[in-house]
Amino acid sequence: MVPLNWYLILSAAVFSIGIFGFLTRRNIIIMFMSIELMLNAVNISLVAFSHYLQDLRGHVLVFFIITVAAAEASIGLAIIIALFRNKNTVHVDEMNEMKG
């Protein structure tokens, strides 16, 4: 039997990689994919907890997280399209209109 901690370490590793990608990439689409990576890391730990606690509520939470991720992806990609149409770039360091 695989210990629960292994799953949690894996989840933490994927989450940290997602944070690194979100903080460093210039391309806003890759930043978005890093957010999906972090959501998936949380899903892994929730399903692992669910299995080891013999409780199905973690699976329900994962279901809702996937719903929110789908909504977030559609809205975010629509924002990216609007941004690209106005600014003709997807690099976040070239978007500084709101600088005070």
Binding site: M1, F32, V47, L53, D55, V60
Partner: protein, 173 residues
């Protein structure tokens, strides 16, 4: 033969970490999306390994089938030539190494004092008898009915919002 679960977990964990690194470091966004597709299939296999077959199916259908196709469509709008020449990381990336490494070490160090809680009533035998999809549906449509309705509202807002945001501005007359 008793090592088999550990070996399977080790393979999937190693591949998941490797693919996550590939996703965030590729210069070409199309390659990133393709590695992410492979990553989502491995995560779905991990869910199967944890006896969550309905979640694994959702992972493949919604994430790999719907969300990644959406990403691919938007990536195709990019100017790929310009993208391949530009720097992929911002200048202050060592700070991000510190931040993400610190978060990982923090999470890994608190795990040592982690104590697992009380066991619930959904044993593997019960789920095997009733099937996973049915047990999940029974909880979702009784105990979590109101959050389920909120989730449908979120999806409705997402549909309307995506259309409103992405459509071209109509000239007012």
């Amino acid at each position: 033969m008793t090592m088999l679960p550990q070996l399977i977990f080790g393979y999937f964990a190693a591949v998941i970490v490797l693919l996550s690194l590939l996703v965030i470091t590729r210069k070409n966004p199309v390659h990133s999306v393709m590695w992410m597709l492979l990553l989502f299939f491995h995560i779905a296999a991990m869910y199967l390994f944890l006896n969550a077959e309905f979640i694994a199916a959702i992972q493949v259908i919604v994430y790999a089938g719907a969300i990644l196709v959406l990403f691919l469509f938007v990536v195709l709008l990019l100017n790929l030539k310009e993208e391949l020449e530009a720097d992929r990381f911002v200048g202050s990336w060592p700070v991000a190494v510190l931040v993400s490494g610190g978060i990982f070490l923090g999470l890994a160090s608190v795990l040592r004092s982690f104590v697992i809680g009380r066991q619930g009533s959904f044993t593997v035998e019960l789920i095997q008898k009733v099937t996973h999809t049915k047990t999940l549906g029974l909880i979702m449509y009784t105990e979590y009915l109101f959050p389920f309705e909120i989730a449908s509202l979120i999806l409705l807002i997402a549909v309307i919002g995506a259309i409103v945001l992405a459509k071209k501005r109509m000239r007012s007359h």
